[in-house]
């Protein structure tokens, strides 16, 4: 029996509902992928082009000015950072409008609401995978032969997807509450990139910043992805710090979404 009261369903039963949503998640994700690449000139090649363009810019700028010591060709270093980063940035930006742009669905059909931003995030996983495949080819070409550490790469992708889902749900909830968040989110994502070691190595940072940069959920993902790719040891302190930050972010977003969910159809 379902009981509907002003206080809403208990949290446990709301979480349990997501078990029945696999089909919906798959078809919403497919919808987002199809709509993104249908009628485009390059189709899925955009997944490669998107990180390539900023890579070329960063490579052009920093290979002549600052000359970071990265242990690998700088363009490879940047590409290895941009592959997970572009996934996160696109996924969070896209998820942030998931509630607003699906207003008609929210107002006409009931389903567990967090499916919408989750599908927006999943639709970009394919971009990360395509970029990763290109990256692997570039690495092999430049003398970083496939090695045992590459087997750990598929474990890092789910971690990145989780961070993107949490951040995306948070951005979508804030955008539903305040319409102007739609313009704020891309800006925040931009700031987030500078706080993540995407185009610079960690050891160029001052010691004070070096101590806290781990408490950024994406630092662990980007650093671990790069370490595995180039066959370097993992920095477990950094990963632990990022895990703590991810847990804190998850709790905050869960509380925000929990407060918003029941009235979502009225808010957007």
């Amino acid at each position: 029996m379902t009981v509907i009261t002003p206080s809403g369903a208990p949290l446990a039963s709301r979480i349990a509902e997501y078990r029945h949503c696999a089909t919906l998640l798959v078809f919403l994700t497919l919808r987002d992928i199809r709509l993104r690449y249908r009628h485009t000139l390059l189709g899925i090649l955009w997944a490669v082009a998107q990180p390539v363009l900023p890579m070329l810019i960063f490579a052009a700028v920093f290979s002549r000015t600052l000359r970071f010591e990265t242990g690998a060709p700088y363009f490879l270093f940047v590409f290895a950072g941009l592959a997970p980063w572009m996934f996160l940035a696109n996924a969070v930006n896209s998820a942030s409008t998931a509630f607003i742009s699906n207003y008609n669905l929210l107002n006409k059909v009931y389903f567990p609401r967090a499916i919408l931003p989750a599908a927006a995030v999943f639709a970009f996983v394919i971009d990360w995978l395509v970029a990763g495949a290109v990256l692997a080819g570039l690495c092999a070409w430049n003398g970083f032969a496939p090695q045992m550490e590459w087997l750990a790469l598929p474990a890092i992708v789910p971690a990145g997807v989780f961070v993107a889902m949490v951040a995306g749900l948070g951005a979508a909830s804030l955008s539903a509450l305040f319409r102007d968040m739609k313009t704020v989110v891309p800006f925040l994502v931009q700031v987030w990139m500078y706080a993540t070691p995407v185009f610079y190595p960690l050891d160029v940072l001052p010691a004070a910043i070096r101590r806290v940069i781990g408490f950024n959920p994406m630092t662990g993902v980007v650093e671990a992805f790069r370490a595995c790719l180039f066959g370097r040891p993992l920095d477990w302190t950094l990963i632990a710090q990022s895990a703590v930050a991810t847990v804190v972010l998850t709790i905050a977003v869960a509380m925000l979404f929990n407060a918003l969910e029941a009235d979502l159809a009225e808010q957007v």
């Binding site: 009981v3 078809f27 497919l30 709509l35 059909v109 159809a265 009225e266 808010q267």
Partner: protein, 410 residues
């Protein structure tokens, strides 16, 4: 056993002072978190039970709370107070085609829409053939639905919706679309659903369909349950009473009547040639919209204006420019202007009248009373529809003079 039990349920909507549904950070910084403005009570202490396997109709004027009630049952909105118990899996069909995307193909939309309506992948595959057969076309399934005619689109959308198989089915005005043949098939399908032991809650303005599908019905007025009874009884009451319309309004208190020092509204009414006030107007008969007003200071050339609205917007505008009073200064006294609406002009639906008074040079609005009176336009005679039983679009439905030429060979 009851499949649905609704216990003293109320629902308030807090409308922002700005009139928008949403807020910005600036709004919160300048006026605080709590929304200002009076909450609007859409449902007020609604209670009734629905037995398992029963089909129940919900009728009422626009704004009576029918759709809000369905949204509460579907868990799209949550109640402000009260309690609802549902036994069984709930499927809701509040809009045919919700979630369809114009750029996706018919086939892609079937899968997406079925998943949105709660079907599992296996269920969709099982029912795919039946859905395609129900839609009645297979040829264009791989084309984007934006190239479909609206008829094809509705067929496909309803085909998907007709195959959801919940224990409790919530339907809102789903028959308001499609051609007559297709509507008949939809009704047959819905009847079959009722016979399979499913519990159905059916919201509609179409009394014919409601009586056919439902055994019992609930009449909502201003968010409250006004009556519960057999479907036939409720349909008759809804049509005859005008369901809470107010077809005459008199402003006897001179001070609070709309107006200024020049003109003041006294009364607005809908009446027949015999002088009888009409809460339900047969669109096949003529009727009058009458406005009474006082001119308190003579000398201004006044333009009384009457706007007739249905739920979608204005359908008719009229003023007395064709009379001897056009652009002529009016002396003090009481005036009664009557606008005669001919038979076979307006379409059916819930109608409301706005009465206003202007003068020009300089432009002055003396009063503007929206929703001064309201009535139900119904078709009890032919209603200019011939033998067609389905929904006809449009705010007006004039009987026009048609000529048809036919040649045997081209």
């Amino acid at each position: 056993m009851n499949a649905i039990s609704i216990q003293n349920v109320s629902k308030d909507f807090s409308l922002g002072a700005s009139g928008r549904g949403y807020r910005t950070v600036k709004d919160v910084l300048s006026s605080g978190w709590r929304r200002k403005g009076k909450p609007f009570r859409a449902l007020d202490g609604v209670s009734f039970d629905v037995a398992a396997g029963e089909a129940i109709g919900v009728v009422g004027r626009n704004g009576a709370g029918k759709s809000t009630l369905l949204k509460l049952l579907a868990r799209i909105l949550r109640p402000t107070s009260g309690r609802i118990e549902l036994r069984g899996r709930v499927g809701s069909l509040l809009e045919v085609g919700a979630g369809f995307h114009p750029d996706l193909s018919g086939r892609e939309n079937i899968f997406l829409n079925a998943a949105i309506l709660g079907m599992s992948h296996r269920e969709i595959l099982q029912k795919l053939d039946a859905i395609v057969a129900f839609a009645g076309f297979e040829k264009h399934l791989d084309e984007p639905v934006k190239h479909y005619s609206s008829g094809m689109f509705m067929r496909l959308a309803f085909a998907v919706a007709a195959h959801i198989d919940p224990e409790i089915l919530l339907l809102d005005e789903v028959l308001a679309v499609g051609d007559a043949d297709f509507q008949k098939r939809c009704l047959d399908r819905l009847e079959q659903v009722g016979r399979n032991g499913q519990t159905v809650v059916f919201v509609s303005h179409n009394m014919q369909a409601m009586v056919r599908l439902c055994s019992r019905a609930v009449l909502l007025e201003d968010g409250k349950v006004a009556a519960i009874g057999s479907a036939q009884e409720i349909a008759t009451r809804y049509l005859q009473s005008g369901a809470g319309n107010r077809a005459e309004r008199c402003y006897s208190d001179g001070l609070h009547a709309p107006g200024d020092g020049i003109a003041r509204l006294r009364a607005v009414r809908i009446r027949s040639r015999a002088g009888e006030v009409l809460e339900t107007v047969d669109i096949g008969c003529e009727f009058a919209i009458e406005v009474e007003f006082d001119v308190l200071a003579g000398g201004a050339a006044l333009f009384p204006s009457i706007v007739l609205n249905n739920e979608w917007g204005p359908v008719l505008w009229t003023t007395d420019v064709a009379t001897e009073w056009h652009a002529k200064p009016r002396p003090e006294g009481r005036y009664r202007c009557t606008a005669w609406v001919p038979a076979d002009l307006i379409g059916p639906g819930a109608m409301s009248v706005t009465a206003a008074m202007y003068s020009f040079q300089p432009y002055t609005l003396h009063f503007r009373e929206s929703d001064a009176v309201s009535f139900q336009a119904a078709e009890t005679r032919s209603g200019s529809r011939g033998g067609f039983l389905g929904h006809i679009d449009g705010g007006v439905r004039p009987r026009l003079e048609w000529t048809v030429e036919h040649r045997d060979a081209v």
